[in-house]
Amino acid sequence: MVALLAAVPALFPGYQTSLATLTLIYALLAMSVDILAGYAGRTPLCHGAIFGAATYVVMYYVTSAGGNPWIGVALGIATAVAVSLIFALLAVRTTGVYFLLLTLALGMVVWGVCQRWTSVTGGENGLRGNARPEWLSDPVRFYYFVLVIGLLASFVMWRFVRSPFGLALKGIRESESRMRSLGYNTTAHLLLGFLFSGLMAGISGVLYAFFNSFVSPSTVALAQSVKGLLMAIIGGVGTLFGGVVGAGIIILLENVVSSYTERWSMVLGLLFVLTMIFAPEGIVGKIRSLLGRRKTTKNQVSTQPA
C-alpha cells in the first residue's frame, strides 16, 4: 500500500499527482472526523471549520503579514487546537443529534466570522498567495512531503485509537454512564479526544493552505464539514483507514463529475442519501462485515459434527 502511494508521481504524473496530494490531505481530515464519529461516538459537523481556520491563519500570516511559513504552520495548528478547545468545552456534554447540531452551529460561527471580518479575511474574495516554502514548490516533492506527514499522522492516529485512551473512548461510545461509574472521567476523555481530532484536522488544514494557495469562506463552510464527514462515512465510520478510501472516492468522483457537469453538489447530495439507505457502515465497514460473516459461517461449519 505504502509502495503504491510512493509510486503515484511516477505512475500518474502532472495533474493527477496534485489530485493524489489533495486526496491525502482530505484523507487526513476524514480520519480526524472518524476519531470523533467512529471512536468517541460523537458525529461532528464542525471539522471543516477547524480545518479552514488553520488554512486561514497560515494564509493570513504568510501572505498578508509576510511571515515565515513554518511559524505560520505552528500558528495555524495552534489555532485549530484553540478552536477545537472552545468547541469541545461547549459540545462534549451533548450526545447524538444535539452534538451534531451544536457543532454545526459552532462551525457556522467560524464561517460567519470569516465572511464578515473583511479587514482580515478578505470577505468573499478570500486570501490569495503562495504560502508554500521555496523548496516545496516542486509538485512531486510536495506530494512526498504530504505523504510523509500523512503517514506519520496516520500512524499516530492508529496508535491513538488502539491505546488504552482510545479504548476508553470506545467504551464511552458504547455506554458513557457505565464508563463513568467505572471511575473514568468521561468528560475529560471526550475533551482530549476532541482536541486530538482537532489537531489532526488542523494539520490537514495547514497542508491545504500550502496546496491551494487560496482560501475563501467556502473553505470553512458547512459543505466542507459535510465533505469530510461523508468521506469518513463512505469509507466506514470506526475503521480509521476507511477515511483514505472515502477521500479517494470523493475526490476522484468530484473531478470526473465536474468535468462533465456543474451539478457536483447534486451528486454529493444523492451520494449522501444513497449511502444512508444502502451502506451506512461504509465500504471498508461493509467489506469487514462480509469477511466477518464468512469467517463465522466457516467456524460454524467446522464445529458442526459431520
Partner: protein, 284 residues
Amino acid sequence: MSFTLFQIFNGLTFAALLFLVASGFTLIFGLMRIVNLAHGAMYLMGGYVAYVVAVSTQSFILGVAAAAVAVALLGLVEQSLLRFVKGAELRQVLMTLGLALMLNDAALVIFGGDTFSVPTPQLLQGPLEFFGMTYPRYRLFVLLVGVIVLVLLWLLMNRTRLGALIRAGVDDAETVEAMGVNIRKVFVITFMLGMALAGVAGAMGGAFLSLYPTADSEILVFSLAVVIIGGRGSLAGAALGSIAVAMLSTFGQVWFPELAYFVIFGPMALLLAFRPHGLFGRAV
C-alpha cells in the same frame, strides 16, 4: 429613540418570520426525533414557488397557498424517503442533509444565482405611520401573520384531539401507539404541516429578505439556533427563541457588524452549556 424603536420592530418582524420556519422544525424534531436539515431548502423552494405563481397569476395569496401545498407535497416525498432509515437518528439527519444539498442545487439549476423578490399586493406596499414613526406595511403584515400562526398553532396543540396526540407523541410516541392510536398518521400530518409552514415562510420571507441560492442555509442556521435555545418540540420555546435570535441578530448587525454571527451564537452556546436541552426542552 425612534431608531431603537425601529430596530425593535425590525427584530420583531424578523422573529415572526423565524417563528414560521422554526415552529414546523421544532414540531417535527420533537415528535419524530427528525432534525430536518432540509428545512431551509424547503423554505427556499416555497419562496421560489410563491414567486413563480405570484408573478404569473398576479395574486400574492395564490402564491402563498401554492408554496404551502407544493412544499407539503415535497415533505411527503422526503418523509417516504426517511422511512428507509427509520429509527436511526443520525442516519436520518445525514439523509436530510443530502436532500438539502440536492434541493439547493436543483433550485440553482432552475433559478440561477439571481436574486428574486416575491411581489406583494398594492395594499401591503408602502409605509405606515404610527407613534411618529414610519414603518413598511409589509413587515407589519408579516408580524401579524406570525402572531396569527402562533395563536392557531396554540389552539391546535392545546384544544384539539390532534394536538393532544402530537403532545403525547412528543413525550412518548411508543406509549401513544400502544394505546391504539395510529401514530404514523399523526407523524405524516405533522410533517406536512411543518413543511407547509416552511413553504408559507418562504413566500413571506421571499418578499422582504428576497430569494437567493444561499438563503436556505442562512435561514436553517437561524432556525437551528431558535430550536437549540427554545428546546425541542416546544411552541413557547420556538416563539421565545425566535424573538431572542431575531433581536440578537438585528442589534448585533447594528452594533458589531463584523461579528454579527458571533453575537447570536455566543449566547446560544453559553445557554447550551448550562441547559443542554434548551429553555423548554426536556431530557429524552
